[in-house]
C-alpha cells in the first residue's frame, strides 16, 4: 500500500537498519492484542467455564464428594433465598435505572441549555461518580438513620424510621444508587445531546414546532444511541449490585442481592457447588440482558464507529 510504495521510491531507506529489523504491521498487530486477549480470557472466560464444571459437583464444606449432575441447580432453584434475592435485584434494577434515566436526562437537557455556571456544574457532577460506593452507602445510611436524622429534619418527619421497614429500606438503597449514578447518566446523555446539530432545531422552530414537539421528534430519536448505551451500562451494573445493600443492611429487610447470595456461599457458608451454580445462573441472567441491549443497539455501536 502507501507504505510499500513509498519505500520502493526511496530505495536508500529500505536498506537502513531500522527497516530491516522491523516487524511487519500484521505481526505487530497480533503481538499487540495478544496480552490483552490472554489476560481477559484467563481471568474472565476461564473462571466461567471452571465455575460451570464446579457447579456440577457435590461438596460438603469444601470437601469434594463426586459428580452431582444438575443437583446444585435444582437446589438453587428451590432455594427461597435465591428467589427473594432475584426479586430484590430486579426491583432494584428497574426502579433505580428508570429514576436515574429520568433524572439524568433532566440534568443533561438543563446543562445543554444553560450558560451561566455550566462549567462548575460539569465539574461538580463528577463528585458522586468519584466517591466510592461504599462511602456513599455509609453516608446515606447515616443521613436516613434516626440518629442524627438529617433527612427527617429536612423533610420535617420527626423520628420516622426509614431503615426499619422492608419497603422503605429498599427505597433508601435505591435512592443512594440514584444519587451516585444519575449524574453519570447525565454526563453520557449530555455528550449525546452535543452531537445533535443545532440547525435541525432551528428549522423545526421555523416550521412551527413547539418545545415539546422538538423534544419528542428531534431530541429523543437522535439521542437514541446514547440513551441505549447509558441504559445498557446502568442495567448491567445494577444487576450486579452488591456494595450498597451489603454495607447498608447486610442483606436484612429482604435486601439481599444476587451477588450477595453467591458471595455468601463462597465465603460464609462455603458450598462451592451451590455457589458456582448460583454464580452461573447470575452470569447467564446478566449476560442475557446485556445481549438483548446490544442487539437493540445493533450495528451502530460496536461496528459503525470502529470500522474507521
Amino acid at each position: 500500500m502507501a507504505g510499500t510504495q513509498a519505500t520502493a521510491d526511496t530505495g536508500a531507506l529500505r536498506a537502513g537498519p531500522g527497516r530491516s529489523r522491523g516487524v511487519s504491521e500484521t505481526a505487530l498487530g497480533r503481538l499487540f492484542v495478544t496480552p490483552a486477549i490472554l489476560l481477559m480470557a484467563a481471568v474472565a472466560l476461564f473462571p466461567v467455564i471452571y465455575a460451570f464444571v464446579v457447579s456440577l459437583r457435590a461438596y460438603t464444606g469444601r470437601q469434594y464428594e463426586g459428580f452431582a449432575g444438575l443437583d446444585n441447580y435444582t437446589e438453587a432453584l428451590q432455594d427461597d433465598e435465591f428467589w427473594a434475592s432475584l426479586e430484590f435485584t430486579f426491583v432494584f434494577t428497574v426502579t433505580s435505572v428508570a429514576a436515574e434515566f429520568a433524572i439524568g436526562l433532566g440534568f443533561a437537557l438543563l446543562m445543554n441549555q444553560a450558560f451561566r455556571g455550566r462549567g462548575v456544574t460539569r465539574a461538580a457532577i463528577l463528585v458522586p461518580w468519584v466517591i466510592p460506593t461504599v462511602i456513599a452507602a455509609q453516608m446515606w445510611f447515616f443521613m436516613f438513620n434516626v440518629n442524627p436524622g438529617s433527612v427527617n429534619a429536612l423533610l420535617g418527619l420527626g423520628d420516622f424510621n426509614w431503615l426499619g421497614e422492608a419497603g422503605w429500606v429498599k427505597a433508601v438503597i435505591i435512592f443512594a444508587d440514584v444519587w451516585k449514578t444519575a449524574p453519570f447518566v447525565a454526563l453520557l446523555l449530555l455528550a449525546g445531546l452535543q452531537t445533535i446539530p443545532t440547525d435541525i432545531y432551528e428549522s423545526a422552530r421555523v416550521d412551527g414546532a413547539n418545545a415539546l414537539q422538538r423534544f419528542w421528534h428531534i431530541t429523543l430519536p437522535l439521542l437514541r444511541p446514547a440513551i441505549l448505551v447509558a441504559l445498557l451500562f446502568r442495567t448491567v451494573e445494577a444487576l450486579r449490585v452488591y456494595d450498597l445493600p451489603q454495607v447498608m443492611t447486610g442483606g436484612a429487610f429482604e435486601t439481599e442481592s444476587l451477588s450477595m447470595v453467591v458471595q455468601q456461599y463462597v465465603v460464609l457458608t462455603p458450598d462451592p457447588g451451590l455457589g458456582s451454580a448460583l454464580s452461573t445462573i447470575t452470569f447467564v441472567i446478566i449476560l442475557g440482558v446485556g445481549v438483548i441491549f446490544v442487539s437493540l443497539l445493533g450495528r451502530e455501536l460496536t461496528i459503525g464507529r470502529t470500522g474507521r
Partner: protein
C-alpha cells in the same frame, strides 16, 4: 440595566426586539441557572454533610441533625489513623497503581492494534471485549476464590490487581481506541516514509500524541480499582497489614460501642479518602469526561 452585560453572546437572536423579550430571556437564563444550582447541590451537599459530621466529636454526630452544632474537633481523624487506616490507604494505593500501569500498557498496545494496524476479525475481537465488559464480577468469585485459596493468592495484592486489570481492560481499550483513531493518519505515514518501523512509529509518534487520552484512561482505571468492593471484600476481607483495601475498611469500621456504627470515625475516614479523589476529579474534569464519554459511546 445595562443590556450588554446581561445579553450573552450566545443568545444573539433574542436581541432583535428589545424590552419585554429581553427581560423574559434574562428571566429564563436565571431560571436555568437556578435549576443548575439544584444539580450542584445534589452533587455536593452530601459531601458537605460528610465533612461537618466528621468534625463533630463525642456523640455530637449522632445526636443532632444540625450541621453547625458542635462540639467540633479532629478527634475522629486521630482515631481513624490509630486503627491502621494508613495501611489501608497504602494497600489501596499500591493495588490501584499496579492495576493502572498494567491496564495502560496492555490496553494501549491492544487499542493501537485495533485502531490502526491491519488485523483480521476486528469485529469479533471488539464483540469479545464488549462481552467481557458486561461480565458480572460475582461470576468470578467462586472459581477465583478456589484458585486463589489453592495457590495462596488470598490476602495478597496480586490476588486483587490481576482480576482488576482484566476487568478494566475492556473500558481501557474502548477509551484508547477512540483516542488513537482520532490521531491524523498522515503523521504515521510521514514516519513510515522516514524509515521508522511500525513499532517505532507507535512508540515515538502515536503514544506521545495520545498522552492526554492515556492520562484520562489512567484516571478512570485508578478510580474504578480504588473503589472496588466485592472482590476486595471476598479475597482480602481482613487485616490491613496485608491487603485489606480502603472500601473494605470503611465498610467494617468498628467503634467503642459494639452495636453502634461509629459515625465520627466512618465519616472522617470517608473524608480522608474523598478529598484527594475530588481534587483529582476537579483538576482533570475535562479529560475524565472526554474519556468516560468516549469509552461508553463506543462500547
Amino acid at each position: 440595566m445595562s443590556a450588554p452585560a446581561t445579553t450573552p453572546a450566545s443568545r444573539p437572536r433574542r436581541r432583535r426586539s428589545a424590552g419585554a423579550v429581553e427581560s423574559a430571556a434574562r428571566a429564563r437564563t436565571w431560571g436555568k441557572s437556578a435549576l443548575l444550582a439544584v444539580i450542584f447541590l445534589w452533587c455536593l451537599f452530601p459531601f458537605f454533610w460528610l465533612i461537618m459530621t466528621s468534625l463533630k466529636i463525642e456523640n455530637a454526630g449522632l445526636n443532632s441533625p444540625d450541621l453547625f452544632k458542635g462540639p467540633f474537633g479532629f478527634e475522629n481523624y486521630r482515631n481513624v489513623f490509630e486503627q491502621d487506616f494508613h495501611l489501608n490507604l497504602r494497600n489501596s494505593l499500591a493495588i490501584a497503581a499496579v492495576t493502572t500501569i498494567l491496564c495502560v500498557v496492555i490496553g494501549s498496545l491492544a487499542a493501537y492494534a485495533i485502531a490502526r494496524l491491519p488485523l483480521k476479525r476486528k469485529i469479533l475481537l471488539l464483540t469479545g471485549v464488549l462481552a467481557v465488559s458486561l461480565f458480572p464480577p460475582v461470576a468470578l468469585v467462586p472459581p477465583l476464590y478456589e484458585l486463589w485459596y489453592r495457590i495462596g493468592l488470598l490476602n495478597t495484592y496480586e490476588g486483587l490487581y490481576i482480576p482488576y486489570t482484566s476487568f478494566t481492560l475492556p473500558l481501557t481499550i474502548f477509551i484508547l481506541t477512540t483516542f488513537f483513531a482520532a490521531i491524523p493518519k498522515e503523521l504515521e505515514e510521514a514516519a513510515k516514509i522516514d524509515g521508522a518501523t511500525p513499532f517505532k512509529t507507535f512508540y515515538r509518534v502515536i503514544l506521545p500524541l495520545a498522552a492526554p487520552g492515556v492520562f484520562a484512561a489512567a484516571i478512570i482505571i485508578f478510580v474504578s480499582a480504588w473503589n472496588e468492593f466485592l472482590l476486595a471484600n471476598t479475597f482480602a476481607p481482613r487485616d490491613p497489614e496485608v491487603a485489606q483495601t480502603v472500601p473494605v475498611a470503611i465498610a467494617y469500621f468498628t467503634g467503642a460501642v459494639d452495636f453502634q456504627r461509629p459515625i465520627g470515625n466512618i465519616t472522617a475516614a470517608c473524608v480522608v479518602v474523598t478529598i484527594p479523589m475530588i481534587l483529582i476529579a476537579l483538576a482533570f474534569q475535562r479529560r475524565i469526561i472526554a474519556g468516560l464519554t468516549a469509552g461508553s459511546l463506543k462500547g
